[in-house]
Symmetry: C2
């Protein structure tokens, strides 16, 4: 397959997502990164009921993002990133995941950490008040510092190339200004390495294209979590 | 690399696990399936404190299974299965995951369903009593029937070959007799397709070798969950 065929109109790629969905931002960044053209179908998560398309394409979880490729749906953001990498990374020779099994395992391990530790701590932090909020803030900062340890002195998580784990984590940065306002701290003081990484990621066209306005993100989350 | 080199002593493979850990059984089945020789180090999960080896090799989660290959640790059972497939599946030309990206995505989707839906429902079912137990039982049976739908009339989840999703789910079968005793039902009546699949899996040498005694499994879970 000629590289130029990647993202050609015959691929028929649709991404069903909501603009403020961090999990879905990953999918959109990955598609941009590999030059895959796609149709974006917005699913408004502010309304309770899911669309007929979501119910049909993801009957088990009824959630977005959903990638629809040639009429078949792929669900779950990490799962979709692997699929995108396997289908289009192959064609354009830009792989999101390293070819080295050990690096792949590390990237997947930390992606799981982001999904099952950082995300739930973020939710706890944003939902809570007083002592509970302080405890969640400390835990969240601890987890972000842990990720700084993985980053080390590299430009991106696995070296000089923006890849899988960068894509997994960077959507969370659209809440970083919200963290600072909600927790009254300066993330650049707490996690300077992470903030330098954030700035490098935000120079990527794919990231610029997808990440939403940070104030709008925090406003939305304030409504979601009842933050005053 | 010559196929016979798979599992050779120079690979230095160690699996740290507990005999009754369903997540770890996956790893041991996969290693047997691909003919990878390994050293088994038992971590007794009945005692509260983790060993020095576990704390050192999995400092983030302090859990097993852990695969140690050439001195480097890989953690998380699904992550380990992917690693095993990438390192040794390549060598022996028996792949746990299909080479087709869509089938791979489906296998990973359902693996995630087993880990994040079936497992938590099983825990809820075993921990609860009365109405709550009946509700959890209904949910668990619904999830198992859902998996029967994926199985369809195939011998294994993705056709005629025992593979990734079979390995992910089969350890749960060591609790099926426990489900029946705890919930007072006959799983062969409720999920006949799944029971036929279970029987086929249990004819595999790798599965026979790893799955524990079902009575011992249920006795252990009775202690863990305070079942009378």
């Amino acid at each position: 397959m000629h590289p130029m065929a990647a993202g050609g109109e015959h691929d028929e790629v649709t991404c069903v997502d909501f603009w403020a969905n961090g999990f879905g931002m990953r999918v959109r960044i990955a598609l941009h990164e590999l030059g895959v053209g796609f149709r974006f179908v917005e699913e408004d998560l502010r309304v309770r009921e899911r669309s007929e398309l979501v119910l049909r394409m993801n009957p088990i979880h009824r959630s977005v993002p959903i990638l629809i490729h040639l009429g078949r749906s792929i669900c779950g953001s990490i799962n979709i990133l692997e699929y995108i990498d396997e289908v289009w990374g192959q064609r354009v020779s830009t792989r999101l995941l390293s070819r080295d099994p050990l690096e792949r395992a590390h990237a997947r391990f930390w992606a799981d950490f982001v999904d099952h530790k950082v995300f739930s701590t973020q939710t706890m932090f944003l939902k809570s008040k007083g002592e509970e909020k302080e405890a969640a803030k400390a835990e969240l900062l601890g987890q972000l510092k842990c990720l700084e340890g993985v980053l080390g002195d590299k430009n991106f998580f696995f070296g000089d190339e923006f890849g899988f784990l960068d894509i997994v984590l960077i959507p969370f940065s659209s809440m970083f200004r919200g963290y600072e306002q909600h927790g009254e701290f300066d993330l650049e003081v707490e996690c300077p390495t992470l903030i330098q990484w954030e700035k490098r990621c935000k120079e990527m066209e794919s990231v610029k294209h997808v990440l939403p306005n940070e104030e709008m993100m925090y406003e939305l989350h304030k409504k979601w979590y009842g933050i005053e």
